[in-house]
Structures are given as C-alpha cells and as structure tokens.
C-alpha cells in the first residue's frame, strides 16, 4: 500500500480536522447567540476544507463512493434543508399550540380532532373535491379541443397557439383581480347582481377563470402528443375510408393515451392546490345557508385557502399546520397513484 504519499495523507487529515473544528466553532458561536461577523465565512471555509479532505482521503476502495457522495452532496443538502426539515418541523408543530412565533405545550392530536369537527373545513374539503372533478374534465376537454384546432390546417394557427397559452403566463393573483373587475364592474350590466356575491355563481366563476388560465397549458401538451402521431397511420386510415371522426376516436386518441394520463394527473394535482385565483377572486367568501345544520360564511373557500386563512387571518398556526399535513397526505397519495399508473403504462408499451 504505497499508493499514497505521506504528504497527501497529512493534507487530507489536516483538512478534515481543521474543517470539522471550524464547523463546530461556527455552529457553537451561532447557537450561543454570538454576533461575531466571521462565523458565516468560518462555516463556509470549514465546509470546503472538510469536503476537500474527504476528496483527498487516502483510499482506493471507497474513492468512487466518496466522489459519488461529493457530487450528490449539494443536491441532498438543499433537499434536506428546504424539504425534509420543514416537513418534519411542520408535522411536529401540528401537534403543539404553535402561534407562528413559539409554542408552549405539546397537544398531541388535538388539532387533528378539532379540524374534523370544524364544519367549514369539511365544506372546504368537499368543495375542493368537487372542483378537482369538474376541472379535471373541463380543462382536459377544452385543452384537447383547442389542441385539435391548433393542429388543423387553419390559417394563423401559430397565433392561436400563442393566444391560448398567454393566460398561463399571467400570475393567478393578477388574473383574479382582473376577472374580479370584469365580474363586478362589466358583467354586472348583464347579470344585475355580481356573479361573485353568491356562492354558486362565484364557484362557477372560479372554474371559468381557472379553465381559461390552465387550458392553454394543457393544450400545448396535447399539441405535442398529436403531432407525434405518425402521418402514415392516419393516411392508411384515410385510404381505408375512415372518417375524420373515426380517425380521431380509433387512431389519434389511443395513440396519445400516455399524454392523456399525464394531463389528467397534471390537472388533478394543480386543481387540488388551487389557491391564487381563489384568493384574489372571492377570498373564500359566499354563504351557504345550511350545511350539516350550520350557516357557513366560506362558501367558495377551497382547501389551500382554508389552510392559509386558518393560519394567517384567524391566527391559529397550529391548526392550520395540522390541516396542511392532511393536505400533504392527500396530495402524496394522488402522486403515488399517478406514478404507479404511469409505470404500468410504460410496461404495456
């Protein structure tokens, strides 16, 4: 084992030790609340020294593993700091009486029990599921129809593609306020009372705005799917005397089945997470005269907005956090099903 020089061994160990010491000092300074200005650089230099020491570590057997780790490290670290730690903290906070600033006691599952006793929350849950179902169908239908239009031989197709996609580039909050103005000041000439002042029409209004915003995006994916259908297959169908409708039904749709799966799940998850248009357009207002024996004031409030308002406007951060954990579980289930189904499709093809 004369593969490594003495110098390299020493450099490696020295770097490792120095790096570890600097890291520990920096962290100790941080936790002790010291205001010294050099602890940031100290932490960074310590980290770099530690990584360099690892890289130079005198081993042949594990060298490849170390390199793999070094390359994965930035990603893993970022993932841990931005996803894993907040998730764990969030679940923890949902079991305390957290106020957004601090907490005084651990309350177990009390927040979860309170959540399911809250009629307005159940209403939001129900409304969200309804919204998801309606939108999954509407956005896909409209998006597919637009895609057919944009792959036909019409003039100015490029313009239409851009025009339909444009709403997707505008933020949801801006869209919400623009449409709020439309409903409250323009359409009111036709409808007498604003569509937004009653729960039913207001919910329909949110769906319209959402479809308008999202259909262009889905259209683009369908366009991509449709242009990959080989021309010779369609030609063959035409020679066999298939009408264009039959071609669509028997050839084109089956050939883009995987695109349809993708689009369905894309609309499903994004509709579940609907927040910005909901907030800007109605902020969840609208009354429900009787739901489970109660008069409700959050007629158009969907799940994400309910969580936000519970935490921010009602100042119950812990309860909001508990709702958010449930929200996470629902979305995780949906995503898992999506992955499962997509994998199956791939095997079949």
């Amino acid at each position: 084992m004369k593969a490594f020089s003495m110098g390299r061994k020493i450099t490696s160990f020295a770097l490792l030790i120095a790096g570890a010491v600097m890291l520990i000092i920096a962290l100790a300074l941080d936790f002790s609340g010291s205001g010294t200005s050099f602890r940031g650089p100290l932490l960074v230099i310590g980290l770099i020294a530690l990584l360099a020491g690892l890289y130079l570590f005198p081993t042949l057997k594990y060298h490849k593993n170390i390199i793999n780790f070094l390359f994965l490290f930035p990603l893993l670290f970022t993932f841990g700091v931005t996803v894993i730690i907040p998730l764990v903290l969030g679940i923890f906070y949902s079991m305390t009486d957290w106020t957004g600033i601090g907490y005084t006691q651990f309350v177990g599952f009390a927040n979860y029990m309170a959540m399911f006793k809250e009629v307005s929350f159940l209403w939001s849950l129900l409304l969200t599921i309804l919204f998801v179902l309606v939108n999954m169908i509407m956005v896909n239908l409209v998006g597919f129809a637009l895609a057919l239009l944009c792959t036909s031989r019409l003039k100015g197709v490029g313009f239409f593609r851009a025009a339909y996609f444009l709403p997707n580039l505008i933020g949801g909050i801006v869209l919400g306020y623009v449409w709020q103005f439309v409903f409250n000041n323009v359409l009111i000439q036709l409808t007498k009372t604003s569509l937004l002042s009653n729960s039913g029409p207001a919910f329909a209004a949110i769906i319209v705005v959402y479809v308008w915003q999202y259909a262009g995006y889905i259209m683009l994916i369908y366009v991509n799917g449709l242009v990959t259908v080989p021309g010779d297959v369609i030609e063959a169908a035409a020679i066999d005397g298939a009408s264009s409708f039959t071609t669509l039904l028997r050839i084109r749709i089956p050939m883009i089945a995987s695109t349809i799966t993708i689009c369905t799940f894309l609309t499903l998850t994004s509709a579940f997470k609907q927040f910005d248009v909901n907030m800007a357009l109605t902020n969840g207002t609208g009354s429900i005269s009787n739901f489970m024996g109660q008069y409700l004031t959050n007629g158009t409030q969907m799940l994400a907005l309910n969580i936000y308002n519970t935490a921010i406007s009602k100042n119950s951060y812990a309860l909001g956090q508990a709702k958010a954990v449930l929200f996470f579980i629902i979305l995780a289930c949906v995503s898992l099903i999506q992955v499962r189904i997509s994998n199956k499709k791939e095997v079949e093809m």
Partner: protein, 444 residues
C-alpha cells in the same frame, strides 16, 4: 492542447463546486441563525451603521413618513427605512414571516390586543421615555409600555354637512332611529335636486371591504353610546361569542334602515375607492366610514372633492337606540419597538416624532389628530373639526372591536352583512345568523 483544455475544464468544475459549497453554506447559516436567536440576525446589518426599519400599517401616509425619515437622517445621520403595508394585507402574518426569516423591523405596527399578545416578551418597554407622560393613549401591558400612539381616529356616520343644510336637516337632531328615518326620507325626496345618487353610501362587499362592515359597523354595536370604560358587550362577545339580543336587534333594524336608503347598485359589490369617490363627489349624503377617509378625499380624490365644492363634513352617531349620541374614537394602532433589534435608535426616533417639527408633518401633512398634549397643531383634515368638537364635548366612546377574536370580520361576520344587504335574510334571521356565526367563530 487536449491536456490544457482538460485542466481548464477541471478548474471550472472545481470553481463551480466551490461556489455551490459557498452558496449552500450561507443558506445553512441563515435558518440556523434565526431559529437559535430570532432577531439578532436582523440587527447585525443594521446595528453598526445606525439605521432602523419601520413597518407602517397605514399606506396612505407613506409619503409623509418617508419625508420624516429624510428629515431625521439629515438631522442625526440615522437612516430610517419606511416599509408601508396596507389595503387588506395581513400585516401580522407578514411580520411573523419576517420573524421566522430573522428579518424583523425595528419598529412595527400592532393594532389589537391579540397582536400585542403575539409578541409577548419580544417588545421593548418604553415606559422610561419622555413622551409617555405626554399622552393618555399609549398601549401598556405586562411587558410595560409597548405601544407608541401616533394618531386618533373616529368612527361615526360621516355626513356631507352642505347637503344636510340644503335639505334642511340638522345633524344635531340625529340621536334616535326615528329622527334618522325622518331625515333620510326628507333627503331622499330631494335627491335629484341635491344631485345625490343615494342618501347613504353603505358598502358590504365581503372580499376586500369586510373590515368596514365586520369591524367598524359591527363595532358600533359593541360601543355606541357607552362610557369610555364600559366593556359590557365586548366581554359578552369574548365569552363564547354571545350577542345581546335586544341591543343587536335594534342595531340590525338600523342597518336595515341604512340599506333601504343605500346606493343599491353599489351596496353588494362596490369597492372602497368607489365609495369614497362617490362621497367626495357629493353623491351621497352619508357614508359608513370613519375619519381616515379625510386623507383619501384630500389626496386621491382631491379633484372630485374640489369639484363638489370642498364641502364641510361631520360625524353623526349610529343612533340605533334612542339617546345614542357618541362617536367612537381611539388610537387605531400603535408602533412597537422590537427588543432584539436596534432598540435604542428606534426609541430615539419615536421620541423625535413627538417633537415640534415632526408633529408638524404628522398633523399638517399626514392629517393625524395628535394624541400628544404638547402638540399645538390642528390638522386641516376635513374631519378634524368635528372630531375635536366631539372630544371637547366628551361625547365619545372607546372602541373595542380590536379586541374581537382575530379574523372574525374576514372569515365570518363580513359575509353575513353582505347576505343581509342582498336581502337573503330578514332582520330576525340576520340577528339569529349573526349569533350562530359569532358562536362558531369563538367556539373553534
């Protein structure tokens, strides 16, 4: 040649890795710092250079505050950064975000008991400051004197004095529901001659204007006509959301009266801007807003207001019961100093705000009614006169709506006012629904 390129590429790779390491290293530092010590991370950049940051909750006086900040910087060299929020933004929520991010301002606004209790143990005690003995409106709790008052506001039924005079209505008589009904009827009959769209501007839109109905109008039920230290109805509300049925029914009937004579096109979905613009243009005789609209009338709507003859304005009490003759006045919010921030400079700045030159800007330009006894300026705000009259006559009630549970107007009561205005419920149903909704709000 190949080797050279390889070395170059390797060097680039190493450099980019180092950059990555540095970036993630400093990213790691920020959250750790804020978790461990809260605000001192925010203090570090500001502390040495002598600068302070103020989060202001009244966006309408942003320009005046910036002017004050500049004056102060010229005078003492301490830089004051003004960050204004308003127009329905949830300020406490934003502040909590700042706190979590270790980015706390040195001075920030607190508007209610609940706001102050959020920050228990984190606010600097200012009881040793000189201005404390100069005012009755400071906010004090177990932590000491933690709120610096900067203005006085009033909520009543604002009226256009010129129109009332032309219509032959004496605002001093408006102290009973019957008197109101008579006056409304009288004005309504002369609507066209007076150029009015409607007698009352009463807006109930629940998405952005919930605070007007849910906080201020509802606040009249809590306090109108009561002595300043009387907290009967807020105590009842705090006890599981109970309403006094007799008093609330009378209040509901009065709201019904307002609705009858309100601008029906705008009552359901009109915006704040439209409401104030219409009042400033002389299209309503009354409007259900408080003294803050004076600033809007003389700034944003200055042209319309001048076009309508810069009419005189006043406040009438919400006389939903016989003999109610008070309007509500209080400090709407206070400025607090963050203990772990640049507290000394912040306190000095607040002390400076009570000096003559600063008060001149606050009163004469921002239109504040100064809560400080030593202040010798009287604002040229349209509502300053009527407020001074009520204060001098002792015909004011305190307001307690800031002591309601958080989010009640936005999430609960605002919508009920809107439903009542839409005619979805009659007075009895309105009272009953409001009882149920308040119980829900306080129950969970």
């Amino acid at each position: 040649m190949k080797k050279l390129i390889a070395i170059l590429l390797a060097a680039v790779l190493v450099l980019s890795m180092a950059a990555c390491g540095a970036a993630s290293g400093s990213a790691a530092e920020a959250p750790a710092g804020s978790a461990a010590e809260g605000g001192s991370a925010a203090a570090a950049p500001g502390g040495s250079s002598g600068s302070i940051r103020l989060v202001n909750g009244k966006i309408e006086i942003d320009a005046q505050l910036k002017k004050l900040a500049q004056m102060y910087e010229e005078k003492t060299g301490v830089h004051v950064e003004i960050e204004s929020m308003g127009g329905g933004i949830d300020i406490q929520g934003t502040l909590k975000g700042y706190y979590q991010a270790g980015n706390m301002p040195d001075i920030f606004v607190n508007g209610s008991d609940a706001d102050f209790s959020n920050w228990t143990g984190l606010l600097a005690d200012m009881s040793g400051e000189a201005w404390v003995s100069d005012t009755d409106a400071a906010y004090a709790n177990a932590d000491g004197t933690v709120g610096f008052p900067y203005t006085t506001e009033a909520i009543g039924l604002a009226y256009n004095a010129d129109i009332l005079e032309k219509a032959g209505v004496d605002p001093a008589t408006l102290t009973s529901p019957a008197a109101y009904e008579e006056a409304f009827k009288k004005i309504d009959e002369q609507k066209d001659a007076l150029g009015l769209t409607a007698v009352v501007g009463y807006y109930t839109e629940p998405v952005n204007l919930y605070w007007s109905t849910g906080n201020h109008v509802f606040g009249q039920y809590l306090d109108a006509g009561l002595a300043r230290d009387d907290s009967t109805y807020i105590d009842m509300l705090s006890d599981g959301g109970k309403l006094d049925e007799a008093r609330f029914t009378k209040f509901a009937e009065f709201i019904g009266l307002l609705q009858e004579y309100a601008d029906k096109d705008m009552m359901i979905s009109g915006t704040y801007d439209q409401e104030i613009l219409n009042f400033a243009s002389g299209k309503y005789a009354f409007v259900t807003q408080g003294s803050w609209i004076g600033a809007t009338m003389t700034n944003d709507d200055a042209d319309a207001y001048a076009g309508a003859g810069s009419f005189k304005v006043g406040f009438a009490p919400y006389a939903f019961d016989d003999g109610i003759d008070t309007i509500l006045t209080a400090s709407p919010s206070w400025w607090s100093v963050f203990k772990d921030g640049n507290a000394e400079d912040a306190k000095a700045f607040l002390q400076w705000l009570t000096t003559d030159e600063a008060q001149e800007v606050l009163v004469m330009e921002a239109g504040f009614i100064s809560p400080f006894k030593s202040c010798k300026y009287v604002a040229n705000d349209p509502f300053a006169q009527t407020m001074s009259d009520y204060l001098a006559a002792g015909k004011t009630s305190n307001w307690h709506w800031q002591g309601m549970i958080e989010g009640i107007a936005q999430n609960y009561t605002g919508q009920v006012f809107n439903d009542y205005a839409q005619g979805k419920m009659d007075t009895a149903q309105f009272v009953q629904t409001m009882q149920q909704v308040c119980a829900t709000a306080y129950g969970g």
